[in-house]
Symmetry: C2
Subunit: 223 residues, 2 copies
Amino acid sequence: MSTSDLPVVTAFDWVPEFARGLVRDLRVRWAFEEIGAPYASELLSARAPRPDDYVARQPFEQVPAFRDGALKMFETGAILLYLGEKDARLLPADPQARWTAISWLFAALNSVEPVIGRIVAYDVFNADKDWAPPAREAALGLCKQKLKRVADALAGRDWLAGEFSIADIMMVTVLNGLRHTDLVAEFPALAAYKARAEDRPAYKRALAAQFADFRDEPAAQGA
Amino acid sequence: MSTSDLPVVTAFDWVPEFARGLVRDLRVRWAFEEIGAPYASELLSARAPRPDDYVARQPFEQVPAFRDGALKMFETGAILLYLGEKDARLLPADPQARWTAISWLFAALNSVEPVIGRIVAYDVFNADKDWAPPAREAALGLCKQKLKRVADALAGRDWLAGEFSIADIMMVTVLNGLRHTDLVAEFPALAAYKARAEDRPAYKRALAAQFADFRDEPAAQGA
């Protein structure tokens, strides 16, 4: 297979320190690493406007967009589902386990990530605003409730759908949005789950691959 | 088929006026109505604790949970995908159209709904807080950007994946979270899209079915 035949995921050639390991191409890289399948990254500049044709590949001009041959898609949920349908190591074949994994895939993106996104919005992007602390306080209870429910669901099992799946790739990378806080550590089962996932060689390879695509620049080195 | 063999979606037997037409079982009902397939609703009280066994069906104790025979799942994204896989009127069979629809299904839930959820959190659930107006102002630009991108993506087509699909059921019900504002109306293509979807007989039947399950109570009639 020549490089030009490989599935392609878009990524950034540089991001600030606080975003390294959080850019969402990591989720797709991780899935590829779990099954040992090759892929290519196509790098974009985070600080320049996207190429004119990029909006046709990703309507919100975000990273990642994905293509496999002529087939194009976007949203990490869709890309992970696509890869999962090709390999039972990512998405179990048993019908109940499959739909449990898919349920948790959506839960990570729609029941957990939105409230984590609010915490990040207040802590990171609006940290200097007077209104951010009370807004954070109002979201914090909901955030902890969601984290507790995920922790509870992990009782007696290592992974959300029993065996490791795309649900875990998604949930763990979603939880990582809180790495600037101690919130996950408040739920030992959740912290253990996250550590278990991040200890997988495939995760480490994916993270290294994302970092390897970042060009060193003075602005980054000084951060 | 006896009633006990039907797929079951959980719903509420009463919600306040502001939530009627927004509770998420509507999405599942709409999908069933599009294909003319029967289903049963199982009603819960929104004002009482969930039954003890409900957390095993929906880890966040929300509505809806779903089962089809012995197969159980949760999250409206997963349920719509499950129904879509059974019927091309909900999810096109052509690979590119299928993955475009699935990409937009996830986009509605993860790129659009979270910022709409922030607007709703500020306008509805924290309307009396001093910090809510500046927090809303900080989210408003992002919200409008997302709405504009969806409107742009609809240029030259009636539905997100070309033909009507679960992506449209999801996006239109997500957009409806803004019905207390004029934000969708700021984007005529988006407003026309939403009106086109809500003019479908299946949508109207689904909405009527959700309302028919609400018991009239004095507290509701006075709202």
